[in-house]
Amino acid sequence: MASIAEPVAVAHPRRRSRPEFGVVLAIAWILALVVLSILAPYIGIQSPDEGDLLETLALPSADHWLGTDSLGRDTFARAIYGAQVSLTVALGSVGIGLTFGGTLGLVGGYFGRWPDRLIMGTMTVLLCFPGIILAIALVSSLGPSVGNVTFAIGVIFIPAFARIARANTLSLRSREFVLAAQSLGAKLPRILIREILPNLMPALLSYAVVMLGVAVLAEAALGFLGLSVRPPKPSWGGMIAAERGNLAEAPHVVFIPAAVMFLTVLAINWLGEATRRLFDIRAQSL
């Protein structure tokens, strides 16, 4: 009965001396994944494409740290090369969403009137499509490749970033420091880039961290439908889809790549929560 109508204690300012254990773990996992996937060709990781047909669906062992798949290919190597695809797509698509969405929202929010109505109207239409469906249509028309998957997911991220940038710009454009800059005769680009943009960054960046996780999940969904990189090139979603038929005999060939993906997205979400707390962004900015 404690919490009804009793004011919840105001959160104490977080002590900054020691970073949280979970955050350290999350950063460590992501760094390890990034380093391994960049260095993969140079540090003697097994080939992700060559299988040993005498050793299919093997359990994890000293030779194959995460076991082998139904063609005898090393799951560890494929997971690392899959990480290359996932991380590239995630960074690229969030970059696209942040750049284009942020710019559109900034312009719409600052100018108001018809530019705003045109931009936000277009964004609403884009939001009308279930994102994954737009991505499926784009990738199947452009052909499955890392670049096209990045582009497709980036496009579906644009409206959300635009909305956040617009909402924050609206509240910033009549603030004193902007009015001061205007009355001092600052040129438009200066006002937008030097005055308003820096104040948008906390909201946009903490949302960007969250969207990195969403991008990994979206790439996996496309991979599952066979619309990410072409086989035999590994992607996490593709690995899971390909081994789905072996679920009964060898569940580890499905669940190990799934676990790698889960831990990665979990680590990203964890960092997202931490950034959000750092900047104290409330959900209303959406």
Binding site: S3, C128, G131, I136, S141, A221, F224, R244, N269
Partner: protein
């Protein structure tokens, strides 16, 4: 009881929404246009000669400019004629008519399961704010948010159907064959989608509920000596459910997106599966028809959400801006 400001709002909104459906279908028409290997090639296969393709293109009317074809399609669509599949020559409207109820059923069962889990969980998490239960529910929801729906689905297939044998791993039973069999075959896909939605709903309700519980009228209710259950369910739940109602509406798009993957995973013949197949087979009219249905549905749901606001919150009804 709807006041004038609310009525005007709804009127402007209907106009906007018609514009959205119009724009969405035009955009799809343009996007499907850039799909490679046009319909004629897709129908005839790789072995077709140049001349065959040319004559079929003429027969299908593909030689005409894009705008003319869109206008043509739109005029027909307004009379309920969505054209025929390039592939099977079936009427698109018939195909959608057969498949839409399956997806709607899936989405309704999903929402029932998701809300059935999320509402009690959200209330408990808000009431026992910062307790062990709250943290445990928070951890579960972060875990679910970090897992793609198809992995949740495969996990459920592995535990509930491969290991325990309680549910079929895939396949669909028509309700006309067996109502129970139908529900049985729909349960796993619906549970999969519901678990993916659960964290979103729970976190929203929890946040709003915590805010509501600190308001004066809750204090009054407590002073009157009402029981905890009465206060939570009778007094706090309704004013805390505004964000939840909005998100249920917005989520419809997400759910249809999720249904595309989950219908493929569980071999459920809904419009999601129809859309994926249509994309694979370059069946333009089928894609176009499904998008029309989804966009219209999305728009209608948003309208309904706006009207639900009026019922839930008297401030909106009387045009008071918060």
């Amino acid at each position: 009881m709807i006041g004038a400001p609310a009525a005007r709002r709804i009127r402007t909104q209907i106009l906007t929404l018609v514009a959205i459906v119009f724009a969405a279908t035009a955009l799809t028409f343009a996007v499907t246009e850039i799909l490679p290997g046009d319909a004629a090639v897709a129908i005839l296969g790789d072995t077709a000669t140049e001349a065959d393709i040319k004559s079929l293109r003429a027969e299908l009317g593909l030689e005409r400019p894009l705008v003319v074809r869109y206008a043509d399609w739109l005029a027909n669509a307004l009379t309920g004629d969505l054209g025929r599949s390039y592939r099977t020559r079936e009427y698109i409207a018939t195909m959608i008519g057969q498949r839409l109820p399956v997806t709607i059923e899936l989405i309704i069962i999903t929402q029932i399961i998701a809300l059935g889990l999320a509402v009690p969980a959200g209330i408990i998490a808000a009431y026992r704010n910062r307790s062990g239960v709250d943290h445990a529910l928070g951890a579960v929801s972060i875990g679910l948010l970090s897992t793609p729906a198809f992995v949740i689905g495969i996990g459920l297939i592995y535990t509930l159907s491969v290991a325990l044998g309680w549910f079929p791993a895939s396949g669909y039973v028509r309700p006309s064959d067996s109502i129970l069999g139908n529900l049985h075959s729909m349960f796993l896909p619906a549970l999969t989608l519901a678990l993916a939605e659960f964290p979103v709903y729970m976190r929203l309700l929890r946040a709003d509920m915590i805010a509501t519980l600190q308001q004066d009228f809750i204090l009054v209710a407590r002073a009157k000596g009402l029981g905890v259950r009465d206060i939570l369910v009778g007094h706090a739940l309704r004013p805390s459910s505004l964000s939840l109602v909005t998100v249920i509406g917005i989520n419809l798009g997400r759910l249809v997106g999720g249904a595309v993957i989950i219908e493929t995973l569980f071999a459920i013949p809904g419009i999601g599966q129809m859309l994926v197949n249509a994309v694979y087979q370059h069946d333009h009219f089928a894609i176009q028809g499904v998008i029309l249905v989804i966009a219209t549905g999305f728009v209608l749901i948003n309208l309904a959400v706006d009207m639900a606001y009026v019922l839930l919150d008297p401030r909106v009804r009387h045009g008071v801006d918060s």
